[in-house]
Subunit: 194 residues, 2 copies
DNA sequence: TTATATAATGAACAATGATTCATTTAACAT
DNA sequence: ATGTTAAATGAATCATTGTTCATTATATAA
């Protein structure tokens, strides 16, 4: 029964993901989500408090799932550079695999400023991972000590997100994950190289 | 008369900017905008076709204004590195000066995928500037020749936007423009330095 | 001052879509 | 079979808001 309930929740979330990604949260209607999920409008309210709740649950579910993978991939690197590379690779791979999620994370999460308390903040978790990586890189002597770490973190995250946005805007036509290595190269060596 | 009409347009746009930035396009109401601008609800429709039109005009107006400044600041640099530095400085300065614009550009423009044909696309213009700068940098021998230019551009733009987002989220508490130099340093030399 | 044109008002209208709930259907135990 | 509980339905409700337009105010000209 519990299992059954979870299954239906998931079905609705999946439908909502498709509809939110296609139309955006505000233009998406409950009827569209219900149709996409193959249930009646009213059924949605047996599983979710309201429209916003659907979005929050979607975000929380995906955040938990994806962040766990990111965490693991970082863990598998043996030095800072490898950890950074693994993180970026994982990030791009996961977003490429689930384009609806990518669209929703890139637009809705940024858009809503009020929800900070209600959803798991993937950016914050991500930035914390980066802090550790940079710090380790400095200890290992592979990254500069004169870095403004707070800025360097945003710089890294901002750039990946920019790359993802472009991919999303291009309708996912090319291989996003293939951007990981050249991107990490830019992070490490910059435009000048060495 | 024409002048008068433009003035009122501007008043309304300014009010709309404040309201859109505070509540986001969808939650903002015409009544709020009218109140903020000090006019009646109906008056808005003497100057704008509809709610969306207000947003478009706002974006177009600001894009034109800000992009012209960016273009000029790039022009003033005598080599690629200086041009890049000027561009980033100008970008951060302008967005810091007009926080409502910053909020709207960072969230609304990203959010709406349908408007591409109706608004001037500042990202595209920006990326074109970057193309020229990088190309020049390569010719001058100051930037690597093995760059994937398409990626390098997104990388730069993504990172600035990430930095602006953080500043916006932090309620503009610190000096955004001061980030320009360390950011450009990261672009050029990366995390490893030289 | 009076007439005319222009601009502004804000209450009323209409459409939309989230949410509710009386009713129906399905599942299951006795 | 039959009664009981749980789940699902979707038409009706209700609140919200973008938009309109008959009316009022203001500016201008004669």
């Amino acid at each position: 029964m519990q299992n059954n309930k979870e299954k239906k929740c998931y079905t609705i979330l999946k439908g909502a993901g498709a509809v939110f990604a296609r139309y955006g949260f505000y233009k998406a209607t409950i009827s569209q989500i219900a149709a996409e999920a193959g249930v009646a409008d009213g059924t949605i309210y047996l599983y979710f408090k309201n429209k916003e709740d659907i979005l929050y649950q979607f975000i929380n579910y995906k955040t938990e799932f994806v962040f766990e993978r990111m965490r693991k991939s970082v863990e598998e690197g043996s030095n800072a550079e490898e950890k950074l590379r693994n993180l970026i690779k994982c990030h791009l791979r996961e977003f490429q695999t689930d384009r609806n999620m990518a669209v929703i994370f890139q637009s809705e999460v940024r858009y809503r400023r009020d929800i900070e308390s209600q959803i798991k903040d993937i950016s914050k978790m991500y930035l914390d991972l980066l802090s550790d990586i940079i710090e380790q890189g400095q200890i290992e002597g592979e990254m500069r000590h004169d870095l403004f770490v707070g800025l360097a973190k945003r710089f890294i995250l901002g750039a990946v997100e920019g790359v993802i946005n472009t991919w999303v805007a291009a309708d996912g036509k090319y291989d996003l994950a293939a951007m990981a290595d050249p991107l990490v190269d830019l992070y490490l060596n910059g435009l000048k190289g060495r």
